[in-house]
Amino acid sequence: MATFDARMVRGDIAQFNRVINNHPLTYLDSGATTLPPRTVLEAMNRYYELHHANVHRGVYQTAAEATAIYEGAREAVATFINAPGGAEEVVFTKNATEAFNLLAKSWGASQLKSGDVVLLSEMEHHANIVPWFQLRESHGIEVRFIGVGDDFRLDLSNLDELLRGVKLVSLTGMSNVLGTINPIKDLARAAHAAGALIALDGAQSVAHSATDVQDLDVDFLAFSAHKMLGPTGIGVLWARRELLEAMPPFLGGGGMIADVSVNGFTFAPPPARFEAGTPPIAEAAGLLAAVRYMSSLGMANVAAHEADLTADALTRLAGTFGERVRIIGPSNVVDRGGVISLDVQGVHPHDVSQVLDQHGVCIRPGHHCAKPLMKRFGLSATARVSFGPYSLVQDTDALLEALADAVSMFG
């Protein structure tokens, strides 16, 4: 069994040595981006110092090494998410957002026609909304939303009706605002029964619990390395092989072609078809290290650790601040992850974050790229706290102390 000790994880992360405004760093913004452990940085440095070369087509040794690292990252990701068709189902993008754009602009634009419905939810991130709105403009599809109830969960009471005419259901595994974990496996079954495919936005969920695309029975999965202890600059679109094979290219350029003449071009098979230009090679090396690191922690351990932290924080927030601090999200840890949005009465999230910064506590104020959800709850912003595998109860201690300061400052 994998061993897990959050203190050891923390020890692997250099940024925790920082002192911010005379306080040790309290990083509670893992929902925005995670802090990479040393092994991830070392993998990238080692890549640049020993192996850096452009991938593919290279015959010399470092080019072969760089290619092996890049393709090795694809293998590792395929194993991490249990891709049935292996590495060739893994497409590297620059982030989860590009993955959704690839999905909408290649699969969507080629497979959907006017009137076809894509079903999202009100708790989606803009990355899983705007590309579909763009497709609505260009191809006349309908974009429909599953509502979110007052319990901060998907309102599935009229799911059958919502699924009518739907060709794709595209949903987040875990809300980056509410922390709500959605019943993807059930929804995949419902989607398939209605003749629709299902895409999973794993941006939040992949880093915090195990993701098995075969068990969940999803058709597409998108996520970013930087939210799972990896580097910026690389993301993933996974899709079942037959789906990828039917998708036309999206970005054009080197690497995705079979042939080019002055008259036209033909394109390569997946995944190369979707990776135009020099890919994020060092970033793939970093992602590979991140996947290995996360696997060594054990995703179940990470999930359990974060659930403990979340339960403790929810209890103490309620105990300390009562009505003054409202939790915008489920108030218990059943089917919810370590993202906690706060609405502090009388103190704007921006000001909450400003006061917390004075205590070295990093949280994120704003709409979290989920404006439809904000509107649903009549908010313009929340103050969002989010945990990572390196988070400790002492972070919650610092949060509560700083929050008390904010509340008293604004009276």
Binding site: H350, S380, M409, F410, G411
Partner: protein
């Protein structure tokens, strides 16, 4: 280290808690919306101008203490002033919000600004400058949209 007291002066918290000139004005008052997409701050300025003087100003909107206090302070500073005077105040305020060393931050100059000088501490928190300037940019836009 910059102290939060520089940012959250008593005057600012006071204007945030009890904003001046809240409300709307009916047409023919000019109505201009200001919006900061990064943080979601929102200000709507309603401006009634008679004989080249700001006869009345009302504000709605929502946002952080700095954006809302700044709009309240602004409304108090410009109400009853001639358009020429208002333009001068806007320009002094923008000076105050610049990070350049050359700006005259002498006590005498700050005194001439009156209450809005309380916003001076914002420059030490660069991410908040946009919060403070939103209302002023919206006012400047409203002036541009006045029927001439």
């Amino acid at each position: 280290m910059n102290s939060l007291d520089d940012l959250y002066r008593e005057i600012i918290l006071d204007h945030y808690r009890t904003p001046r000139n809240r409300g709307e004005l009916p047409p023919p008052a000019v109505r201009v919306e200001g919006f900061n997409p990064l943080c979601g701050d929102e200000i709507v300025v309603h401006l009634a101008v008679t004989d080249g003087v700001i006869a009345d100003i009302k504000l709605t909107g929502q946002g952080c203490s700095i954006s809302q206090a700044s709009s309240s302070l602004m409304s108090a500073a410009v109400k009853g002033k001639s358009l020429e005077q208002v333009r001068a105040v806007i320009s002094s305020f923008k000076q105050l919000m610049t990070l350049e060393e050359s700006v005259d931050q002498s006590p005498a100059n700050l005194r001439s600004l009156g209450e809005i000088a309380a916003l001076q501490g914002v420059v030490k928190f660069p991410v908040r400058i946009k919060c403070a300037t939103l209302a002023w940019n919206t006012l400047a836009q409203a002036l541009d949209e006045l029927p001439s």
